[in-house]
């Protein structure tokens, strides 16, 4: 029982806290909770959870401040809950280091899938280290050393840039990477033309992987925000 994932939920709305906790407990996660930012930080430092679910609208401090505090000391995955659904709010939280951004109201199935996805990414990083060896998720395999990309053992020929993008997304499996974060990693800068350049490359990748719109396979596209690699959301 000791190797169960420990999840800290920081949320001030009692009803939401109760249902999220019950949902995660039903999935056999070990759940601890806090209803203010201050308590949250205390719980975080003393319990060292594997995942933090953080509501941005807390009564004592803005959740983003807490996110920054956590990021100062720890790379622990943080999943942000927020009632704000504007693209710029999402981009801000993600660029500040949140791993995922879930807009209220959300469905239980989707929520659990995203929690699983984040925890899996974390395991992938912990076990495989950074960009070495092979990465496998569902039908997808990436051979970082040979720089090859496979779907069900069939090699898909990607250009250098396309491969770099897929490798980057896989390195952050389950996390939405914003347009600017990806551009900075791939081209070293982000300017007005970067997003378009990235979108063109993504369109080519989708074509090569023969992904159909609406299938929601391998790559999730968060309109106006960025991309996320996944298998089961």
């Amino acid at each position: 029982m000791n190797n169960r994932y420990k999840i800290l939920i920081i949320e001030d709305e009692a009803n939401i806290l109760r249902f999220v906790a019950a949902l995660l407990q039903a999935e056999d996660y070990f759940v601890i909770t806090a209803d203010t930012a201050e308590k949250g930080l205390l719980m975080f430092t003393s319990h060292r959870p594997d995942l933090v679910v953080l509501d941005l609208g807390l009564p004592d401090h803005d959740g983003t401040l807490l996110l920054q505090d956590i990021r100062k000391t720890s790379p622990v995955p943080v999943m942000v809950l927020s009632a704000r659904s504007e693209e710029k709010d999402k981009v801000e939280a993600l660029d500040m280091g949140a791993n995922d951004y879930v807009t209220k109201p959300f469905g239980s199935r989707e929520f659990v899938a995203r929690v699983r996805s984040i925890l899996r990414f974390n395991r992938h990083c912990a076990e495989e280290g950074k960009l070495g060896g092979k990465f496998t998720a569902g039908e997808m395999t990436i051979d970082y050393d040979a720089r090859k990309f496979y779907i069900q053992d069939n090699e898909i020929k990607l250009t250098q840039t396309e491969f770099n993008i897929m490798a980057l997304l896989s390195e952050h499996f389950g996390k939405v990477l914003t347009y600017s974060a990806i551009s900075k990693e791939i081209w070293g800068y982000f300017d007005s033309g970067s997003t378009k350049k990235l979108q063109v490359n993504m369109a080519n990748i989708r074509k090569k992987l023969s992904l159909k719109p609406g299938e929601n396979k391998f790559i999730f596209n968060e309109l106006g925000v960025g991309y996320r690699m996944h298998t089961d959301v």
Binding site: G107, Q199, K212, G214, E215, G224
Partner: protein, 353 residues
């Protein structure tokens, strides 16, 4: 905008005064009826006051008219003379007419503004009524089912509880969509449209909309036909996504007996044209007339499906704010099609990797 209206005012003033001047000149020359001239200028000044904004242009033209009449059309001709009492009085009359007609026009304009404001207020009222009505039904069901389960937990069978819980879930989901639509509308508060258009990849837009649609309706297949090329439109992506979801959902809720649902996008000139088509029972011609303007046109008789309520009028609001057009029509061989247009992004993008 402001410069444009100033130019317009100046143009009106100049044209009217020049016309009046030449008309007077003609009358003076051919009919020798100098008594007519001042009335023509009175009419001109009145027209200027009516067609321009504020007092300035009216008073300006009154002043010019007084000078013109005095200079050209009253004795002594082609000479200013205010010493003759008659001339001074006619000048005063002209100015009085101008001031009064300007005041009247301003009053009428104010009244019109009030009326449109009242109409808007009325529309807002209708909208609120439609929404409240639409909210009450699912809320009643949620409240009723939840309290039934809480109060009779052990007396109810598991199947009953599950059925009621599923009902609660469905109603809550419907409420969520309603709120999403309402939030979209709040982006258009009055005339200040807060629309942030960005270059949006068509394929990604359709992908996101369909993914969300499939989450709600797992078993409904949408036949898709979009261009192979890399196409971008100028739009607020989340709002257009909402339009697509609303249109698809509207078909599921209202196109009884449909077996095919398709989404087609193609480009024509500098426009992208979106079509949501089904082969259901079509739209009642009476409903079709006001399909995008009335807030609640569905029948609640079957008691099963909720109305889209404001869904289609939200679509129309969003598309109009984008400068596009939206329409609905019945197809000859059954079914209906909803069609809307968006501007393509200007300039073709050179593919670079």
């Amino acid at each position: 905008m402001k410069n444009k209206s100033i130019l317009k005012n100046i143009a009106y003033t100049a044209i009217i005064l020049i016309c009046a001047f030449f008309l007077s000149l003609a009358i003076h020359k051919f009919f020798n009826a100098p008594g007519l001239v001042p009335s023509i200028f009175v009419l001109a000044v009145f027209l200027v006051s009516l067609l321009t904004q504020g007092y300035f242009y009216g008073l300006m033209s009154a002043f010019i008219s007084v000078l013109a009449v005095n200079f050209a059309f009253t004795f002594p001709y082609f000479e200013f003379n205010f010493t003759i009492e008659e001339n001074a009085i006619s000048a005063l009359i002209l100015i009085a007419v101008t001031t009064l007609s300007c005041a009247l026009t301003a009053k009428i304009r104010h009244h019109e503004a009030l009326q449109t404001e009242a109409e808007k207020e009325k529309m807002r009222g209708n909208l609120l009524r439609a929404i409240s009505h639409d909210l009450r039904t699912p809320l009643t069901a949620i409240y009723g089912s939840a309290s039934t389960i809480a109060d009779n937990y052990s007396a109810l069978s598991d199947t009953d509880k599950l059925t009621m819980l599923t009902g609660i879930k469905d109603d809550a989901q419907w409420l969520i969509r309603m709120v999403e639509n309402l939030l979209s509308i709040t982006k258009f508060d009055g005339e200040n449209v807060k629309l942030i258009k960005s270059s949006t990849v068509l394929e990604e837009l359709v992908d996101s909309a369909l993914s969300k649609f499939h989450k709600r309706y797992e078993n409904i297949k949408v036949d898709l036909d979009i261009p192979d090329e890399f196409v971008t439109v100028m739009a607020d992506p989340l709002l257009i996504e909402q339009v697509l979801i609303n249109l698809l959902e509207n078909t599921v809720q209202h196109a009884k007996g449909f077996t095919k649902l398709s989404l087609k996008v193609f480009t024509l000139g500098n426009k992208a044209i979106f079509e949501v088509k089904d082969n259901g029972k079509g739209i009642d011609p009476e409903v079709l007339k006001t399909i995008f303007t009335s807030f609640s046109h569905s029948n609640h008789f079957d008691g099963k499906t909720h109305s889209m309520g404001i869904g289609l009028s939200v679509c129309a609001t969003i598309i109009k704010a984008h400068g596009g057009s939206i329409s609905a029509e019945n197809l000859k061989d059954g079914g209906a099609v909803f069609r809307f247009t968006l501007d393509l992004e200007e300039g073709t993008y050179e593919q670079q990797i």
